[in-house]
């Protein structure tokens, strides 16, 4: 009898094991981590089955809540469609998408990262965008073989932020608002030196300045390797030949010089914390703790960090034009929402996305996004979006961000070059000895170019 019981247990064990293996794929809402269930929609009018589609996105807790609320709203308004939220970790998005693509189980709609967009569009995994009204501006398009295969959800661009009080305290003139007055690189370094102080209160011009004990740096640059393209472009170089993306020109004298100048901000002038040693997120903290006077960061920082810091802690900040190494330029890039190919309900997916993009205007309202349409950057009458309380003073923002965006914004390389993910990873390693001063940018990039070329070419 004992043995029979044991046998029975074994059978139950096996069935349990197998059942555990079988439970996943067809379960609706297989999206992990969905904790807010959508409210039950009204029954569809003709007794049809509602089309169930998934929406994958990343974001912090508040963003997840926002998006889930939007989805619930949509579901309530559209009984024939059920959208299921599928939040994922931002750092894992590439891995998640890759795995799902390999398994043939992509979501119907969702966020897409910039570096993956071109190759995925190339392989036909992304539905081509269609627009009923105005087509979004060119600078946020993803171009492949002369065609726009996708558009960013918004415009965001690299922008210079500064703390007015730090300038006033140091008795330094405030940064220029227009490109006509933009600082040359040497002028910028000079100002940054005047704003860098050691613990004894000496600024970086002082021969006795102690670089090991700096109280406040003049400048902070987020250690995101893709942003280095901005400085390479500003100096007349770039990452890639604009006429042929497979031609890597990152070791051209102009590009190398620009990158060397960034390294020298730390190595030679001591006006910036060493590239990479400060964590990438949260420039508001550096400003609030009076650790920096100026920082270059994406314009999304307005809504994410700077304006909340202004409203909650009285940070007195504004925006200015970027220093100019020879060419007026800024780098524009933003993630996007796409309809993945192979959805069982393409019409429902398209309907949801159109509605969602329309609704996400609140992200502009709170200063995280800027609009997608060129007219809203050129037509004064349409600039109301930038005059909400979330944005910095309009007279600064108008010339330092909107005009620059309209006239000088360039798409980041992943808008037209495939394989940017491994390229940046490799570039990051190649440049590491430059930041530590073991190699010059020219040496490192000359040595590293074949590997970079191989990645882009392959």
């Amino acid at each position: 009898m004992k043995k029979f019981l044991a046998l029975l247990m074994a059978v139950v064990l096996i069935i349990g094991l197998v059942a555990a293996c079988t439970a996943t794929p067809d379960t609706p809402g297989a999206g992990p981590g969905v904790d807010t269930p959508a409210p039950a929609p009204e029954p569809p009018p003709e007794g049809e089955e509602p089309a169930t589609i998934t929406y994958m996105f990343w974001g912090d807790e508040a963003e997840v809540e926002n998006v889930t609320n939007l989805i619930n709203e949509f579901n309530a308004l559209h009984p024939h469609i059920i959208v299921e939220p599928w939040p994922v970790d931002r750092a894992e998005i590439a891995a998640v998408l890759t795995t799902l693509a390999a398994a043939g189980e992509l979501p119907d709609t969702g966020f897409m990262t910039e570096p993956l967009t071109i190759p995925w569009a190339q392989a036909g995994f992304i539905e081509a965008p269609t627009f009923a009204g105005e087509t979004p501006r060119d600078v946020i398009s993803f171009q492949w073989e002369g065609e726009a295969v996708a558009y960013s959800s918004c415009t965001v661009q690299l922008t210079m932020f500064y703390d007015l009080d730090r300038f006033d305290d140091a008795g330094v003139a405030r940064p220029p608002k227009t490109t006509a007055d933009a600082w040359s690189w040497d002028e910028f370094v000079d100002v940054a030196k005047s704003l860098t102080f050691d613990t004894a209160g000496r600024n970086a011009h002082d021969p006795a300045f102690d670089r090991n004990n700096v109280e406040m740096y003049g400048f902070y640059l987020e250690p995101a390797v893709w942003q280095l393209e901005l400085w390479a472009l500003s100096n007349g170089g770039g990452f890639f030949n604009p006429n042929d993306w497979s031609d890597v020109i990152i070791n051209s004298p102009e590009s190398a010089e620009a990158i060397q100048r960034i390294a020298d901000l730390y190595l030679e002038h001591g006006v910036m914390p060493r590239y990479g040693t400060w964590p990438a997120d949260g420039i508001d903290t550096w400003f609030l703790e009076e650790n920096v006077a100026m920082a270059v960061n994406g314009s999304w920082s307005i809504g994410v960090w700077m304006s909340p810091a202004r409203d909650d802690h009285g940070l007195n900040y504004s925006v200015s034009v970027l220093p100019n190494m020879g060419r007026n330029v800024t780098l524009a890039t933003a993630g996007l929402v796409v309809q993945y190919a192979g959805s069982a309900h393409p019409e429902a997916a398209a309907e949801w996305l159109a509605w969602f993009v329309e609704q996400s205007g609140f992200l502009i309202e709170i200063g995280i996004w800027m609009p997608r349409y060129q007219s809203m950057f050129t037509d004064e009458a349409l600039m109301g979006w930038a005059q909400t309380p979330a944005f910095p003073p309009f007279e600064d923002f108008r010339t330092a961000v909107i005009d620059v965006s309209a006239n000088y914004a360039v798409s980041a390389a992943w808008h037209w070059v495939p394989n940017m993910e491994p390229f940046l990873e490799e570039l990051s390693s190649i440049l590491a000895p430059v930041w530590s001063g073991e190699q010059t940018a020219q040496e490192a990039l000359d040595a590293g170019r074949p590997a970079l070329s191989a990645i882009i070419g392959g």
Partner: protein, 462 residues
Amino acid sequence: MGASDTKMQPKTATDTPKASGILRPVGVLYVLFSALTVFIAVIGASGAELLEGLMPQGFVFLNAVRNYAMPAGFMPHFFHFLFLFAAFRLAVGCMTIRFGKTPERGGLLGLLGKIDLWIVIPIMVFSLFFFDGFHFMWFPILSLPLTMLLLHGSAKLDNRPGRAAREEARTAKIFLIPAFLGLTFMTYIPLTAVFGISLFDWNIPFAPEFAGFTNIIELFSQGSFFWTSVWYTLIYSFLAVFLGMVYSMCVALLLNRKIPGKVFFRTAVYLPFIIPVVSSMLVFWLIYSHDGVINNIITMFGGERIHFLFESATIIPAIAMIAVWASGNIIVIKIAGISNVPRTYLESAEIDGANAWHRFWKITIPCMSPIIFYNMLMSLITNMQVVVPSLMLTGGGQSGATVTPAQFRFVAYELYNTAFNFGWLGRGGAISFMLFVLIGILTAILFITSKKWLFYEGGGPA
């Protein structure tokens, strides 16, 4: 065994009717199940729309095989095979009904049960991977209990000499099935699949193409980062294993003395091991940072700050120190090992005039060599697969998000990045396979050399 046989013999006779009580219905079920199998096979072999719907989605590698490598006409053959399986089951069913009361045929029925098991398991594997959404899993699930009942009943019926041992063996086999299935799906199949994937030129989002050994050969080519990453991983593993061994030995020796608060200290050195790796990484990130404890001490004495995680010379030792710090498990095993060194050896050596160093080097170490060997092996295998520091300290695998010095790019990190962030699955498979081979080689070297220095008090394993 002979004694137990004679004891068992009379009992068998009384068991037989009971056993047949199971076997008869089992035989009937076998017949019914074979009819069901024929039905499925007929639908499967003729119904084209069923075939379309039964294609796999869930498994990466076999998905590719199905799409690109499996011959188009393979699926019908599976259903032809099901016909054969039905015929076999019909025969088994008839024989079970016929011989269900004949103890002499217990062995034969047991053999049939075994053969049946070895058919059902492959069907299970096949249907798990080759049918979309596991739609076909109910078939082997239904079929497996029958097999088990047959094995069980035949073992009860069987009255040949050695019955008890065979019955025990069969019961053991039945109990091993879940473990075996688990290992098959979680270990053996993925392991083989990784090698399979490495044979494809497969860059997500593009379709895979068969490429033979190109991926593996490319790892050996000039300009490939693979060997650099292997080199960094080897340096790291050597430092982590060697320093870990020395550190744990020192701490274990100290904690083996009669010191006050021994229990407290034992707990204290063990704690780092149970702290989640992510938290300890964060703590070390702070310790090593620009404004961290170490740099503050350095600047206090007027030195230059060292960027431990950014200077090529300090990165690997800095990360290795984290592993050494967390080697509490090794310390505990070492403490147990030291207290197991026979007193008699140590005392007689002392009487012979050996000093403390001699006693340690000539007696304690050799007596502990099996423990040292085990610890070395385990920590080598673990450290060769190091990936958490790379992911934690480089910004979570988001490429280019932060500065990633090459020294961070250990093999497992390269593997993760290549396969999942870059979507180069074929190359990722090749790296994974080579890492497996590499760890295999290192383990083999350790085993071969161990013969020279391992000392087993009890003579060692046979």
